[in-house]
């Protein structure tokens, strides 16, 4: 008994140690974002702020300068959502529709198409840059929000298709046949039978696609609107400013703010995420 408690105590000690190790950068950032600039420069990185201040957070949100532009990261934050929300919506809608067609309305080409889509999702993004640039120019949406929405939607479709297809393939085909006999058409079956069964997998898709778009740097930098850059490009601009005083506390606060949405998404939807990923593994 004692040996066992000793053993588990050891395990917990090691786990806590690793936890602290991985959380330490977060801690350093957290305390630094509440210090004054002077204190950041002088004190140890692990020490708590002597004077707590939320000045850096306010400045990062609405007053920090990148170049001549001193409006913080707020506009970029909003701009990112303007891109991410429609792109997530379209990517998921089209992915669900694709998965539905591939599993229930089986055609000869379903497997070939699925293979092609899979390949599409593994090709490095950089390969697409020039063709995408040309396409966006031809469509006359280069450097616009619409352009980025289009790119992220298209790039999200292989992932969402894969997710929804693998989920829908586990649905019994009798369900679909019953709906056909009941006289439901293509979209009626999709919206009344299939979609209501999909919330778990939809949350997985939302988390993956949203964090993909939100964390995207390459497309944001290349195709983003210069005055409405997506957040990752904006933070980079802010942090990488090469003239003036480096305001570490403000920069850190800006990084923090930019990381919050994905962090919160995982915290609140993580439960569904795991449920969605393991769905179908156990009959239920």
């Amino acid at each position: 008994m004692i040996a066992r408690t000793g053993k588990s105590a050891l395990i917990y000690a090691v786990l806590v140690l690793f936890g602290l190790f991985f959380l330490s950068p977060l801690y350093v950032m957290f305390v630094a974002s509440f210090k004054t600039l002077a204190e950041v420069r002088q004190s140890s990185i692990f020490s708590l702020p002597q004077v707590w201040t939320i000045e850096p957070w306010i400045k990062a949100w609405s007053g920090a300068c990148s170049g001549l532009d001193c409006q913080g990261i707020r506009p970029f934050f909003i701009a990112t959502f303007e891109i991410a929300i429609p792109a997530v919506f379209f990517a998921i809608f089209l992915g669900a529709l694709n998965g539905y067609v591939m599993t229930q309305w089986r055609s000869k080409f379903a497997d070939i198409l699925f293979g092609l889509l899979l390949i599409g999702s593994f090709v490095p993004l950089q390969l697409f840059l020039i063709p995408l640039a040309v396409t966006l120019r031809e469509l006359d949406i280069y450097g616009t929000t619409v352009g980025l929405v289009l790119i992220h939607t298209v790039y999200g479709i292989p992932l969402t298709t894969m997710l929804f297809r693998n989920f829908y393939i586990s649905l019994p085909s009798e369900l679909f046949k019953a709906a056909v006999i009941d006289g439901a058409g293509f979209f009626k079956i999709f919206f009344s039978v299939i979609v209501p069964m999909s919330p778990a997998i939809m949350i997985v898709a939302i988390i993956l696609v949203f964090s993909g778009i939100y964390n995207d740097f390459l497309f944001a930098l290349t195709f983003g609107d210069t005055s409405k850059r997506p957040i990752m490009a904006a933070v980079q601009n802010l942090v990488a400013t090469t003239y003036g005083v480096k305001e570490h506390n403000t920069n850190i606060a800006a990084v923090f703010i930019s990381a919050l949405p994905t962090l919160l998404l995982f915290l609140f939807a993580g439960k569904f995420f795991v449920r969605g990923l393991t769905h179908g593994a156990v009959k239920g």
Partner: protein, 364 residues
């Protein structure tokens, strides 16, 4: 005529799973498609429903050619093996979904659903989800979904295979009552011959995509068309004995070793065998008796036969006997269990036998 199939053929790629199936049933019939797994019975049901396109041949329902018509426009309803209830909808919406798709206004719809629910005694479950129901209740909802559409033909795909034995008996008699009350055509797919015997007015025994026999349950049991049907039907397997057929003074006779009897009562459904031809005699274990009084006719074999094995199965005892160096299976009441190695006097009743061609397996 409520259903008429003419030369139905179905190919999956290069594989022909249904070969030239034709049959016809009347309104109010209960047709059971009976066969082992993979015999094509569910495929045939799907072809009738329109869920599978036939490769060739025509399907007619109530005199209307529906071969190229959508499942929902055939005026049929189907109960699936897994019930296939929509898991996110309430029981009420599950039942009414077909009407909803047909565009029926909400008020009429809920009236129709209420009526069906009352009939099936599930009116207190209408607001539940399928996951909150027991197996028997799900079954009822699935039947309700079929009922509410008031179809010409009910298609049921192994409807009782997911229920336990007790519930199955109950559902079986409820289905029979339902059929009596509605007087509609039912088509039922099953691999359970007891279900087939007790429910059907017509049975189609299917094997390897072919109808082996189509007839009443009585005929299927007592006059099997071929050796496959003879072996497939019957809880206790039919005995097959090599026998010699002979004509003595134009009277058909059957000879096995030193046993010989006339066969006046046998009705030949096809050309009788030739004089001296060897045939297979199909004899059910239930037609072997220990008492002479039980014989149903004048024609029988009798003798003191050696008991090879004797196995208790409960109310019955299964006894293997040596009859002219051929092993026959018989069943007796277990209260008189014979010892192995002893000889017992038995009577082989030849009133309800089948004679088969040794080569083709077809009934004479």
């Amino acid at each position: 005529m409520s259903l008429k199939l003419t030369n139905i053929k179905k190919m999956f790629g290069q594989v022909e799973v249904l070969h030239d199936i034709s049959l016809e049933i009347d309104p109010g019939d209960v047709l059971v498609l009976l066969g082992g797994s993979g015999c094509g019975k569910t495929t045939l049901l799907n072809c009738i429903a329109g869920l599978e396109k036939t490769t060739s041949g025509t399907v007619e329902i109530m005199g209307r050619d529906v071969t190229d018509i959508n499942p929902s426009d055939r005026n049929i309803a189907m109960v699936f093996q897994s019930y296939a209830l929509y898991p996110t909808m309430t029981v009420a919406r599950n039942i009414g979904f077909g009407l909803e798709c047909a565009g029926m206004p909400k008020k009429e719809r809920s009236q129709a659903v209420g009526k069906v629910a009352a009939l099936l005694k599930i009116d207190d479950l209408l607001h539940r989800k399928p996951s909150q129901l027991s197996g028997g209740q799900r079954q009822r909802v699935a039947i309700g979904r079929a009922l509410v559409r008031n179809p010409d033909i009910f298609l049921l795909d192994e409807p009782m295979s997911n229920l336990d034995a007790q519930l199955r008996n109950q559902m079986r008699s409820e289905l029979r009552d339902l059929h009596k009350a509605l007087n509609r055509t039912f088509i039922l797919v099953t691999h359970d011959q007891i279900e087939a015997m007790s429910m059907a007015t017509k049975v189609a025994v299917i094997d390897q995509g072919r109808i082996q026999q189509f007839g009443t349950p009585y005929d299927i049991f007592h006059k099997p068309n071929n050796k496959f049907v003879a072996e497939f039907i019957g809880v206790n397997k039919m005995n097959f004995l090599n026998a010699k057929f002979s004509l003595i003074d134009e009277v058909p006779c059957l000879v096995i070793g030193s046993h010989k009897t006339s066969l006046r009562s046998y009705e030949f459904s096809n050309q009788p065998p030739k004089d001296g031809q060897t045939v297979h005699l199909g004899l059910r274990p239930e037609n072997i008796y220990r008492l002479k009084e039980r014989l149903e006719g004048q024609e029988y074999f009798t003798g003191e036969l050696e008991v090879i094995s004797s196995e208790l199965t409960g109310s019955d005892v299964q006894v293997l006997l040596n009859f002219e160096n051929q092993v026959i299976t018989s069943r007796f009441r277990s209260t008189r269990m014979p010892e192995i190695g002893t000889k017992i006097l038995v009577y082989l009743d030849l009133r309800n036998i089948s004679l088969f061609n040794t080569q083709t397996g077809q009934r004479f």
